[in-house]
């Protein structure tokens, strides 16, 4: 599950993409961890995250089993409130909060450090600002896993804006074809970037798709700034 490790894009395209997640380790500190996960998300909400999520459940955008045909005229951009996500946590899967500024992340990390839940907290994002923010919060980072990017039959990958959007679900649940379709729809004025980001986000089963970055990428690609 390295689903947050390999996002595609040049460094500047990650300036608004920091995923802070917390998880337990089976057999070591998983007993009684669920209240801590909920507390983690409630704390995160005080620092204006872009979205929060639980793995295998999703974020504030979710698919629906039985839609009413009216939905084609009246689809909301958000299906659940953050509080509904927190209430829905019944298993001890990883939970995450996504931030679009290092400042928000840093202020959150300060509270995380103080809360001292004893579970593993990781940040997926640009390593240098994460290192700096952790230091400011009084945290010495423990380990790092670096993403070395893609190799092999690279001609099977789509072009940059499509890849940047589709790799925001590291599990590849966001199809490049769908990402490209949404890019086209935005360019054709058929949907707004916010709506398009919501459609894409509904396919990310862990809810770590960053809608703020998606909206920015969609707006940039809309005008042909590739």
């Amino acid at each position: 599950m390295t689903n947050t490790l390999h996002r595609s894009g040049p460094p500047e395209s990650f300036r608004d993409d920091f995923i802070v997640f917390i998880r337990n380790s089976k057999g070591r500190n998983d007993v009684g961890s669920i209240p801590k996960l909920k507390e983690f998300l409630r704390t995160a909400l005080r620092h204006r995250p872009v979205t929060i999520s639980q793995y295998r459940f999703g974020s504030t955008v979710r698919p629906a089993e039985h839609l009413n045909p009216r939905i084609h005229w009246t689809r909301p951009v958000q299906d659940l409130t953050p509080e509904q996500i927190i209430e829905a946590i019944t298993k001890d899967h990883t939970v995450a909060a996504i931030f679009d500024t290092p400042e928000a992340m840093a202020s959150f990390l300060r509270e995380v450090k103080a809360a001292d839940w004893g579970l593993s907290v990781n940040v997926a994002g640009l390593t240098a600002p994460v290192h700096a923010c952790a230091k400011r919060a009084g945290i010495v980072r423990h380990s790092v896993e670096y993403s070395l990017g893609f190799q092999g039959a690279l001609d099977r990958l789509p072009e940059r804006p499509v890849l940047e959007l589709s790799t925001m679900c590291g599990h590849s649940m966001v199809s490049p074809n769908l990402a490209r379709k949404m890019l086209e729809w935005v360019r054709e004025g058929r949907r707004t970037p916010e709506q398009a980001a919501a459609y894409l986000g509904r396919f990310c089963s862990c809810g770590i798709f960053n809608p703020a970055r998606a909206v920015r990428l969609l707006e940039a690609a809309q005008r042909g700034n590739r």
């Binding site: 690279l154 001609d155 099977r156 072009e159 499509v162 490209r180 590739r226």
Partner: protein, 224 residues
Amino acid sequence: MTNTLHRFGSRDSLRDDYIIFAMAARGINDQGAPPKLQTFLRLALKHHPINVGNAVKGGIFRASKALTPLAHWRRREFIAPEEVVESIDTCTTVSAVFDDPANLEAFLTELRGADLGISINIAALTDEARTCCQRAGITRHSVEYSLGFHGDLNRLPDRHVLELSTMCGHGMVAHNLAKKMLDWVKEGRRDPRQAATYLAKFCTCGIYNTTRAIRVLEEARVGK
């Protein structure tokens, strides 16, 4: 105008793609060239090319200047090849596209006999082109090898899109259009022949290989 040099694809995906073109050298043998270019195309037409083109006027697939709304239900696919031949009035480059090396070889044999005295080139797999030449009794003069794409490669789309869009080396067939046609074929909104025709209309030189395009569209349809 290296518009035929860099076609994207593996060796296997280029097995049905042979472009042969004729051109005269400025100031050396261009006087009186248009009739020779017409002869070149007329000879080519005897050997079942899938497209013939004039670099300044286009190939058999062309845009229409004034459609009637009925075109959305009924559309003419291409113009008569003879119209392309007739349209040659300047010293331009003319081309014929073959999808079968046997047809190319037969054409080469006839071309050698016709002795037009203008430059003839084949853009294709170099070893296949060489074999065709040898069988037709021709020793190749020079070769230009395509060493492929370098640089900021993550700006390029995926394999199927590139195979379709680079068949107009001038870049007139947009990646986005190629992708749209791939989707339309997948969705059953158009069949591969119709989709290949739309793409070919954007190639201003008439070197678009619709046979190969149809094959790529069919492969991509089922996710290969």
